[in-house]
């Protein structure tokens, strides 16, 4: 006698379920699902994100003299010859230096010099996203160099200082201690 002949409707469902092992109603694997595949060291090698301690800064180095050339060729059109920014239509490159001492005023000027807490962020961001029209095209040497150039123009390092994985995290930015955590919800709103 087949299943179809002996059961109808709900009775059939109950019978069918009874025939299954108890965990068959919904099974989650004990361990991982096993989807996805292992990521190899080579595949991960090109990724980077550089925290303030400089971990994962690449080898190589650069100084402001070479950086001045990189800047003139690759950056000045959008950020201005004096790093003053270029608000023109189609460009809109930020002002990169100046503004120190303005943050607590009614006209704060936020730049790498006045506002950014870490020099490592500058390396990370330029390597990642600049030049805006050709992101990721600079060599690490060029990134170190242009970073050194911007920092020296901001008078945070000497024009002769070489930047590399050891030196860059040691640069103390003027606004290093200018950040605090999120205090919200603001208790004043509960008074």
């Amino acid at each position: 006698m087949s299943m179809r002949e002996i059961c109808r409707g709900a009775a059939c469902l109950a019978l069918a379920l009874a025939a299954l092992p108890p965990h068959a109603l919904g099974q989650t694997p004990q361990g991982p699902y096993g989807f996805g595949s292992a990521a190899s060291q080579e595949e991960l090698a090109d990724f980077f994100a550089i925290p303030a301690d400089g971990r994962r800064l690449p080898s190589g180095s650069g100084d402001a003299a070479r950086g001045a050339k990189v800047y003139a060729d690759q950056c000045a059109a959008c950020h201005g010859a004096q790093l003053e920014g270029n608000p023109a239509k189609g460009i809109g490159g930020d002002k990169l230096i100046g503004g120190r001492g303005t943050l607590a005023s009614s006209t704060p000027v936020k730049t790498v010099e006045s506002y950014w807490p870490y020099a490592t962020t500058l390396f990370d961001y330029i390597k990642r996203a600049m030049p805006f029209n050709a992101p990721g095209s600079l060599s690490d040497e060029d990134v170190y160099s242009v970073v050194a150039y911007i920092l020296s123009k901001a008078e945070m390092i000497k024009a002769t200082d070489r930047m590399n994985a050891t030196m860059l995290p040691k640069v103390i930015m003027p606004n290093r201690d200018g950040f605090e955590g999120d205090p919200r919800p603001e208790l004043q709103l509960y008074r």
Binding site: F47, G92, V109
Partner: protein, 467 residues
């Protein structure tokens, strides 16, 4: 507003605001040209068939020339997202279009014209576009009207070649294709996303005229994907892991550091939006959804998650998306979007045709959970009345509210105020400025969640005011 310190704008911000004011005026002028008479501006566009058509057809054709069939094919054009079709005099007297003639993917009606418009930053590759909140009905934002913010344009990504790598302080570094992710059990939730810059023009004085300009950086979608927690179990987390770097595959290679606690609480690796694949502008093929957190953290085109013991201090969490207070200190990692609401009807640039009944309606939301209640005032906050919920409040989603109003024809100031389930009450702008200081639009430009005021004057015109 009493005792509000005077705010000063620097050149950059003034230029930006001037440009957006001009852009908004252009969009409003276009919209006005669709309407036949001033009394219906932005409202009740029924009974205006010829003027509606004049938008549908190419500019320059007169209303008379566009009566069905008169315009030549070259002149005929439909608004973005629509197809042009001849309009029969009587649709019951001739056959409609054959089934499937649209190729199998539908489009909106040629008579629907609302679009998002771009904030005129100097560079159109790093810019944002605003949702037309005054035209959107219900609670979900149509995918094509979801606001946008891009820092390096919109990438084109072949999903068959896209991977998300999960590595760092994990037991086993892994990569997942979109097909891999779709094999996991999924979760589907309606969440709003709001840019923390929503309203940045409005700190100092009422600047933009329409609700699209003042509040258009909020949208709500149904998102589908895999909880990060599922992936975390799959790869195994190391004890030291406390932060996760999320990275996008766009030209900005956008990065944000997210506390692991949030990632494990409710983060979703989303491939679906409103029942289909996420739109390219929203991160196709994969977006990180962090319910209730500022839009920038919802990394689009997600390609990498790196587990770490510390945040990475990326440009977008230091130079940008930090809130500079008047004392010169900046708040960092201000992730949550706090309770907020806005009346979308009537709102700026509309005109009430005359005294009588109006169903005031708007949206309310909170990044901390459900909206508990919304109050509406018609007298600039002196008296408040409970609004009605037109949708069922869901956590970290918008709620459509409404309030029946009999306008007596006298000047009125409309406001809405949201209270969320934590008991947080949406503040006034004066309260926010008292706490955060007066360096508004280029100091603390982000996280403006103040009560919005719309003034209705005796002639029925509605405008953006600080009250």
């Amino acid at each position: 507003m009493e005792n509000t310190p005077t705010l000063v704008l620097n050149d950059n911000v003034r230029r930006l605001i001037d440009a957006i004011v001009i852009a908004e005026q252009r969009h409003l002028a276009e919209r006005r040209s669709e309407e036949a008479c001033a009394c219906t501006e932005g409202m009740f566009p029924r009974n205006l068939p010829t003027s509606r058509r004049s938008f549908v057809f190419a500019a320059g054709s007169t209303a008379g020339a566009v009566l069905a069939g008169a315009a030549s094919a070259g002149e005929q054009k439909a608004p973005p997202g629509a197809q042009f079709y001849e309009v029969p005099a009587d649709p019951t007297k001739e056959l409609g279009r054959p089934v499937g003639a649209d190729g199998g993917y539908g489009s909106r009606s040629q008579f629907e014209t609302e679009v998002r418009w771009r904030f005129p930053t100097a560079n159109e590759y790093t810019s944002w576009s605003m949702s037309p909140l005054d035209k959107i009905v219900g609670n979900l934002t149509p995918s094509g009207l979801h606001f946008e913010r891009h820092h390096g344009g919109i990438p084109t990504i072949d999903p068959s070649r896209h991977m998300v790598f999960v590595h760092g302080m994990v037991q086993e570094a892994k990569k997942f294709s979109i097909a891999d992710l779709k094999r996991f059990p999924s979760t589907t939730r309606k969440y709003f996303i709001e840019c923390s810059g929503n309203g940045l023009t409005e700190w100092v004085k009422p600047t933009l005229k329409s609700v699209q300009g003042t509040h258009g950086l909020i949208s709500t979608s149904e998102w589908t994907g895999v909880p990060f927690a599922t992936i975390a179990r799959e790869i195994g987390l190391k004890e030291s892991a406390a932060w996760v770097l999320a990275e996008g595959a766009d030209a900005a290679v956008m990065t944000r550091s997210i506390p692991l606690e949030k990632m494990l609480k409710d983060a979703i690796l989303a491939y679906g939006q409103n029942g289909e694949a996420i739109r390219p502008e929203q991160g196709y093929p994969l977006r990180l959804i962090l319910p209730g957190w500022e839009g920038n953290t919802h990394i689009k085109w997600l390609r990498r998650l790196e587990l770490s013991d510390k945040p990475f201090m990326t440009r977008e969490e230091t130079s940008k998306y930090t809130d500079l207070m008047a004392n010169g200190k900046a708040r960092q990692f201000t992730f949550e979007m706090e309770a907020k609401s806005v009346i979308t009807f009537p709102s700026g640039e509309m005109k009430l045709p005359g005294p009588g009944f109006y169903n005031i309606t708007g949206l309310a939301w909170s990044g901390r959970g459900r909206v508990q209640s919304v109050d509406v005032s018609t007298d600039a906050g002196k008296t408040w009345y409970p609004a009605r919920f037109d949708t069922v409040p869901e956590p970290i989603s918008t709620v459509r509210f409404s309030f029946p109003w009999l306008w007596d024809g006298k000047a009125a100031t409309l406001q809405s105020r949201c209270t969320d389930e934590t008991g947080y009450v949406q503040p006034t702008l004066a309260q926010l400025i008292a706490i955060r200081g007066a360096n508004g639009p280029f100091g603390s430009i982000y996280h403006l969640n103040a009560i919005q005021s719309w003034a209705v004057s005796a002639d029925g015109s509605v405008s953006n005011v600080h009250a």
